[in-house]
Symmetry: C2
Subunit: 207 residues, 2 copies
């Protein structure tokens, strides 16, 4: 869920086209399969030319589960330039989960992606590579932001823990029937993480 608040109009326009193409590709692949899907169909569905498609992606698989380098750069820049006195977790939360105009829309795009990978395991390596690229971009940006030595494990540990907590918060919220707002669920998960993951008070009364 890349933030959009800091983008210029031209960049926002590019991101919109990128998303329109990805969403069209995913919907078409889910509706009628992967094998027969052509770049022409995807471009048509997003109302752009084939040439425009290839300005964004090198092949249909990349449109389905890739990640645009510009999006990675933007994600990293956003994290690096959060207020200097903001704690690492707050900065990560802001970049990963806030600033999204429409959480439901972001969720819908993500669900299309995961459903697609579930149905077509051949997309898995590229999907995982995209996740690893997002993680690596965040680690680089957090390292720059904090001024830590490149061998300091802190940024990698913080990003992995934050991405894990975010994933678990979204899954738990879905499993519990989407009760309450997703924003609140994500906030609660990050607050638990910032508190050092103490055991919640329960009927067993353990700490």
């Amino acid at each position: 869920m890349p933030p959009t608040a800091t983008l210029s109009r031209r960049e926002r326009k590019k991101l919109e086209t990128h998303r329109a193409l990805s969403t069209a590709a995913r919907e078409l692949a889910l509706a009628s399969g992967l094998d027969g899907l052509t770049v022409e169909e995807i471009a048509d569905a997003a109302d752009v030319s084939v040439r425009t498609f290839f300005n964004y992606f090198s092949c249909k698989e990349e449109a389905l589960v890739g990640v645009e380098p510009a999006v990675l750069d933007e994600l990293g820049a956003e994290l690096e330039h959060r207020p200097a006195d903001e704690a690492p977790l707050d900065a990560l939360k802001a970049v990963l989960a806030s600033g999204v105009d429409d959480v439901e829309e972001a969720m819908r795009r993500w669900s299309l992606r995961t459903e697609l990978v579930r149905r077509h395991p051949s997309l898995l390596p590229r999907h995982l590579a995209a996740l690893a690229e997002i993680e690596a971009a965040l680690v680089r940006a957090l390292t720059a932001r904090l001024g830590t030595d490149p061998t300091d494990p802190f940024p990698a540990v913080a990003v992995a823990a934050a991405m894990g907590a975010l994933r678990a918060a979204v899954s738990s919220w879905e499993d519990a029937g989407r009760k309450g707002s997703l924003d609140d669920a994500v906030d609660a998960a990050f607050a638990t993480l910032a508190a050092g993951l103490p055991a919640p008070r329960t009927r067993k009364g353990r700490r």
Copy 2:
């Protein structure tokens, strides 16, 4: 890295055979590829019968990247029965990263697995399913241990954050040329997590 300290002799023997078969399967697949590999070869290399192989696994792919249900049960039981007053993160660390007699040996087995998946992406879905099963078993056990409501996101958030931190700690330690002990690196990552991931002190002097 399942713990071995609490196993009976019979269970330990089973775990040893399971590991011998998995390791043999991985070494053979890495040496001469996946396609021609037979269950007979794997059983021979582990010095057991084909019938014994099928007591543990339903096919060669499962030996390569599956996870034995008994290992999942043991992992869950171990977490559930850690001392009652132990904090969630300490209990998770104990189950995930301690009690391993030989860290180098556990690392070697894990490296064989990840290298195999890298070379043969067809194994990825089963590999990810195994990771998800391990995570789910830990979440169930932590829920039981804490007595939290099944819809409480805490156990899922804690397990995902702990597994992310562990993975990042091991990767950072490898990337930094394996300086110092892996145990110390894992301890430091869990201590950072328990402290709520505060920024380390650096030349930039940010908090």
